[in-house]
């Protein structure tokens, strides 16, 4: 792909501070890059050029008269199309929200706005974040910037592709079962899923409320740390957000070391059928590099891995079927039944039938089924108990190690249309899903590529609330790995 013309977030902060660049220059180079490559990549669903340039001019004026909002003032950011930015469309890549405009800011957006970030536009995703390839977008196809015939991963595929394609300095995504880490891995960028409750979900369109978490997609580990320091922390508008103090992620990186750190390799993760040899080799090589740097590599066991996908698809679809009940064509969203629906009930049924895409309907059906009378205990309650066992698996593993190393996905980015059945697509999430069920934090950091140049990600996991340890391990690895 050649060198990316954009600075990292950290570089942009320095360049703005030193007067080496302006917000206008940064925004123009991002918009120029979108003009050049987005017809091929398709990362964005919406870009408001005039608004972006007006915001950039305002940021430059603030900097000129000394009233800047902080070091990030004037830096543009891309946002996945499931987080509310006041005055911008919010579609979740669904026909049912095609014309929806957010009347308010999500908490993460409010925090970024108060720092002077500029909201570039909306990135494509699998509809309502349901998918692992972006092929379930109801509005647009997105291609992997490294190979247009392949998927960018999902569901935050537009955000990952925008950063990888040099169309954004940083982006926000959301991760319910791997939706940040998987596209980060497929596109060769860094993506972090924070501990459940670290980042407020207020203003994030709910898919599965007990699993959803917002996080950054960036070019470097340090950039992700900078983003986490801004977006993390308790929010009275999200009762599941954690009271523990957040922040300090970026400043802790200067002392980053893996000397004496115990890195666990879960035996079962390397016995997965269909694990691509190039993925295995890259991950094992990363472990050797960490070992040479003073880390201790230990084998751990996470025997519940084989049940994680089954438990996830019961719990996530059950929660989704309840969350998506609000889309009924009454207060907002598509109402495609004028003159046809003789009753309110018919209007619900038709609006939902015409607004939702195939995968969303399938998951609503599955979720409604597992919650329905006679099946609740057998499916939903049992899955919640298995979820407890998955949590305990990690608790036990983390008594034997400090971080866990694993692949992000069994395979690098696949061809569009290649995973033709829903079940095959679900199985590709094997390494990421249990992390959401357990609520712990994890990330994907690039660790190599296939012979044909497709990126491969290393997944690193740490216990709940241990983002600092996670980022220190990842930053150390990134430094010893060098440029890819």
């Amino acid at each position: 792909m050649g060198a990316l013309p954009l600075p990292t977030l950290d570089q942009a902060v320095s360049a703005l501070r030193d007067g080496a660049t302006s917000s206008r220059e940064l925004c123009e180079s991002v918009l120029g890059r979108i003009d050049t490559v987005d017809s091929r990549i398709g990362a964005y669903l919406y870009v408001d050029r005039e608004e972006v340039l007006a915001d950039a001019a305002a940021a430059d004026r603030r900097r000129a008269d000394g009233s800047q909002l902080g070091p990030f003032d004037g830096i543009p950011i891309a946002v996945k199309d499931n987080m509310a930015v006041r005055g911008q469309p919010l579609t979740c890549a669904s026909r049912i929200l095609k014309d929806f405009v957010s009347p308010y800011d999500a908490t993460v957006i409010e925090r970024l706005r108060s720092q002077g970030f500029i909201f570039l536009g909306r990135t494509n995703m699998d509809e309502f974040a349901m998918g692992s390839s972006n092929e379930n977008s109801g509005l647009q196809a997105t291609s992997n910037p490294h190979d247009s015939s392949r998927v960018p991963g999902g569901s935050s595929g537009g955000s990952a592709a925008a950063v990888a394609g040099g169309e954004a300095i940083v982006a926000l995504g959301s991760d319910t079962g791997g939706s940040i880490r998987l596209p980060a891995s497929f596109c060769g960028v860094v993506g972090v899923k924070p501990t459940y409750g670290r980042v407020s979900r207020y203003g994030l369109v709910a898919f599965a409320s007990s699993l959803d978490q917002i996080g950054p997609l960036t070019r470097t580990v340090r950039d992700s740390a900078l983003m986490l320091d801004i977006i993390s922390g308790r929010d009275p508008r999200d009762s599941t957000s954690l009271p523990e103090p957040a922040g300090g992620c970026a400043s802790c990186l200067s002392a980053a070391s893996v000397n004496g750190m115990r890195c666990g390799m879960p035996r079962e993760y390397f016995e997965v059928e269909g694990l691509d040899p190039s993925v295995r080799e890259c991950v094992e090589n990363a472990a050797r590099q960490l070992e040479a740097e003073g880390a201790e590599i230990v084998e751990v066991s996470l025997p519940m891995l084989k049940y994680a996908i089954a438990a996830y698809y019961i719990i996530a679809t059950a929660e989704a079927s309840a969350n998506l009940a609000r889309f009924d064509g009454v207060r907002y969203g598509l109402r495609d039944s004028e003159g046809e629906a003789e009753s309110l009930l018919a209007q619900y049924r038709l609006s939902r039938a015409r607004g939702f895409g195939d995968e969303v309907k399938r998951r609503i059906i599955l979720g409604t089924y597992v919650l329905s009378s006679g099946y609740y205990d057998a499916y939903y309650l049992r899955a919640q108990k298995v979820r407890t066992l998955i949590r305990k698996d990690f608790e036990h593993a983390f008594t034997e190690c400090d971080v866990i190393l694993s692949p992000v996905s069994p395979e690098p980015a696949y061809k569009k249309g290649e995973l033709a059945t829903p079940l095959r697509m679900y199985l590709a999430d094997i390494y990421t899903i249990s992390v959401n069920l357990a609520g712990i934090c994890g990330l994907s950091v690039p660790c190599g590529a296939t012979e044909s140049g497709l990126p491969i990600g290393l997944q690193m996991l740490a216990p709940a609330l241990h983002e600092k340890r996670l980022l220190q391990a990842a930053a150390t690895y990134e430094a010893i790995r060098g440029d890819l």
């Binding site: 609503i364 079940l423 709940a464």
Partner: protein, 105 residues
Amino acid sequence: MGKGPDTSHIDVRYVADLARLELSDDEIKRYEEQLGDVLHYVDQLGEVDVSGVDPTAHAMPLTNVMRDDRESPGIQRDDVLSNAPASLEGGLIRVPAVIDGEEGA
């Protein structure tokens, strides 16, 4: 699942009715096949011994989360109504009549 109801078949038409979702015959047939595969796969949860295990609803449970009892600005009504597919004067959203004999509201 090991014990309990027959899980080899999902009656998609019935479930779609519960979910307020109009489906075509073709969709019903397709979802029955595809979700049959998925249900067959998730049946393996029946192997797990879950006796005495508490369910997890939230991985990081918090209880009794209260906020201060204080007014704060909300979203304005006009802003909310701007997304309504059909509205009437006076801040009302129009829907098909629910009660008989109330035509021409």
